[in-house]
Every structure is written in C-alpha cells, then in structure tokens.
Point group: C2
Chain length 214, copies 2
Amino acid sequence: MAKGADPSALTDDVRPLAQSEKSVRKREAILRAAIEIINARGFAAATMTDIAAALDLKDAALYYYFPNKQALAYAGHQRSLERFEALLLRVDADGGTGLCKLRRFLRALLDDAVDNGPQLYFGDNSYLDPDQRLAIETWAARLSKRLERFLEEGMADGSLAPCEPELVVQLILGMLIWLTKWAPGTPGLTNERLLGAIESMALNGLAGPRAGRE
Amino acid sequence: MAKGADPSALTDDVRPLAQSEKSVRKREAILRAAIEIINARGFAAATMTDIAAALDLKDAALYYYFPNKQALAYAGHQRSLERFEALLLRVDADGGTGLCKLRRFLRALLDDAVDNGPQLYFGDNSYLDPDQRLAIETWAARLSKRLERFLEEGMADGSLAPCEPELVVQLILGMLIWLTKWAPGTPGLTNERLLGAIESMALNGLAGPRAGRE
DNA sequence: GATAAATTCTAACTTGCGCTAAAATATCGA
DNA sequence: TCGATATTTTAGCGCAAGTTAGAATTTATC
C-alpha cells in the first residue's frame, strides 16, 4: 500500500524509504541492470520484463523499488552523471596541464566502465518527461562545459593546440558513447590498447608545442 | 491486393513493382523520413504514425510501399550503407595518400549529411530479424575494413603515424555517429568548422612525419 | 467525361507492455 | 516459534502501436 502519488516528480525517488542494507543493495542492482539494458537496446526496447529478468525477478517486483519505468531511467541518468562528475572533479583537483587532465580523465572514465558497466552519460533521453529531461540536460551541459575548460586550460598553458573546445568535446564524447556499444563485443581489448588508440589519434592531434612531460 | 507474402525476406522489397516515376519518388521520401526519425528517436520510439505524419499521410498508407516496419527500417539501413560505400569507393578511386583519402572521405560524408540528412550508417540494429541483421552487420564490417585500409595505406606511405587501425576506425565512427545527434541542434555550425575540429583533433593526431602536402 | 488503376483513408483487430491490486511467500525480531 | 514486516508473484486491466481489410478517393488513360 502507501503508493503515495507524489506530484513533485523531480525528487529522486519516492519509495518506502529507510530500508535495510539488503534492500538498498538490491535497488542498486536493479539500477545497474536497467542502465546496462537501456544503454544497449534503448529505452523503448528495454522492457521492464527484461530488466527484471536480469535479476531473476518478475517485472512487477521492480515497482517495489521504483514507481515507474521513467523514474527508473531517470535515476539511471542521474547515477551516470554523478559518476561522471565525480571523476571529473577528482581529476581536476589533482591539477596538471590541460592535456594532462584530459588524459587522466579519459583513463578514469574507461576504468570506471570496466568496474561499473556502460553508463547513460549522454545520448538519448527523449523518453523522460520535460522536467526530468531539463534537469539531465542542464546537468550534462554543465559537465561538458567543465570538460571544455580542460581544453581551454590546455590551450592557455601550451599543452594543447588551438581548437574550438565546444566542438572537440562533442567529438570526444562521441568516441566515448560509441565505445560503450562496440567495445564490449571486442575480445582481447584492454583499456591500455584503447587509451593507446585515443592517444595516437585524439590527444596527439590536440597536443600543442609545449605538450612535453607531465 | 496482391500482398504477396514473400518468404525470401532478404530481397530488398517486394511491393507492386514497376510503378510510375511519382510512386518511386514517394517511396524515396518515405524512406528518407523513416531514416531521419529512426535515427533521432530509435526504432521502437519511431512510430509508423510519426513517419507517415512527416509526409502528411496516415500510418496505413506506408504499407502500400513497405510490407512492415522492419522492412522499412531494413531498407533504411541498406540505403545508408549504399551511400557510405559509394562515397568510400569514390574517394578511394581518386587516390592520394592515406591521410588525404581519410580527410576527403570525412568531408564527403559531412557534405552528404547536409544534402540527405542523418543516416543509419552504424549504430543499433537489434530490431531487425537475424537474417537482416547479419546482412547489415556483415556489410558494415566490410566498410569498416575498407576504412581501416586507408589508415594502413597512410601508415605505409608515411602520411599517418602508427596506430591500431581497427580501434581508430571505431573511434572515428563514434565521432560521426554522435555527430548526427547533436550537430543538427547547434546553430551556426558549418561543415567547415566541424572539419576544422576533426582536423585539429583526430587528423593532426594521426598525421605522421611525412604528412606534408597532398 | 467514363473507366480502370493507383493511392490513401477509416475502422477495427491483435499484441505486447506498462502498470495495479491483492494474494503468496520469504525474512527477521522478540 | 510466531507474528509482523518486507519482498515477490500471479492475474489481469488498459492503452498504444503495428497491422489488415475494405471502402473511399485520387490519378491516369482512352
């Protein structure tokens, strides 16, 4: 009971709350599976039955943890952006040249993907309702801006060549988004090799005259 | 009438055939709208009603040109890969260094997108049935291989630095796929600026010792 | 202008999926 | 062990979207 038809749709989630350790971990597991499946097949094609099945549950069980499919997806987007932001802040705090930060961030993101699976960083979110969409979109834009700042710093400190940060960031994001689709199906692929490829292409291209040592 | 329940699902399309000029052009228009909408929203979220509405038609009218939604999407994928391949072959035939070919191909692809809208080059196709999927996937793999050859040529002729072609091609494709999602919503964005960004990042990175003139 | 063919529409059927209610089972503290 | 709470299931509703059949309408041809 106590379905609690909550009108303020922006609050994270509105479920029984104050639950046991185990319950929280199950919620996490559901969220993780949802992110993975939505990322792989898209929101519409990812059925509640599919997501539930990944945890040996029936679809109805998910509604004990999330009020509906949209809310589940929304929580997924939030979770992904949280991760992204955490990595970004950590790398930023560690300092260094712009190139150096960029390199460390890519490394951190790839490593995170290994541990926590592909995420819903950017990409489609048209299925969210306007409020949620705006929130996610705004957040994502802020993160993009922060990434752009790495590029600007790099251009200022000479570690990166002149470029249009806004465009280049999008290009980089494109590589990363697409990565989550094909990389899992490529045997023998390590983060080392991936970073090498990114390095040989993107970073060498951006590297400026004083790119030298870190 | 004459619905012709055709069992050999791999043949392009099986409709009344031998139709007038006008009919063919309408089929093209439908295909184009379908590609655009499927690309924007994903297969499942792109309804027949939406696609039809883009041409001021009711959903049922589409079934005069395509037997079902899957076949429409399949034709869309084929059309996109045809385009991709045509550009690839043309650029290859025109010769030049590996870097030169790569650069010309990207330019051609971007220009094509302006004229013919975003395409379904790669990306998701899980909604096709196995036969169709295999066909598309095989074709796409062949095209990737051809792109890789540009890189290998470039490494051989010294216009490109050493790299893993298979990975780098995927990274490039990622940039291009993601491009079709965000670029349309960016005002003031020209292909010139886009190419500049790609140049400053990817190509400068790949450029080898003898990258010099074309 | 009349007839046939080509094209589109209306109306309904079918299916799959999000979602709900309530019963059934598992978990845990006293 | 028993009762209360937490968790999951079964069963089914409702709706949206793919699809179809046949009627209606447009277009082409003589």
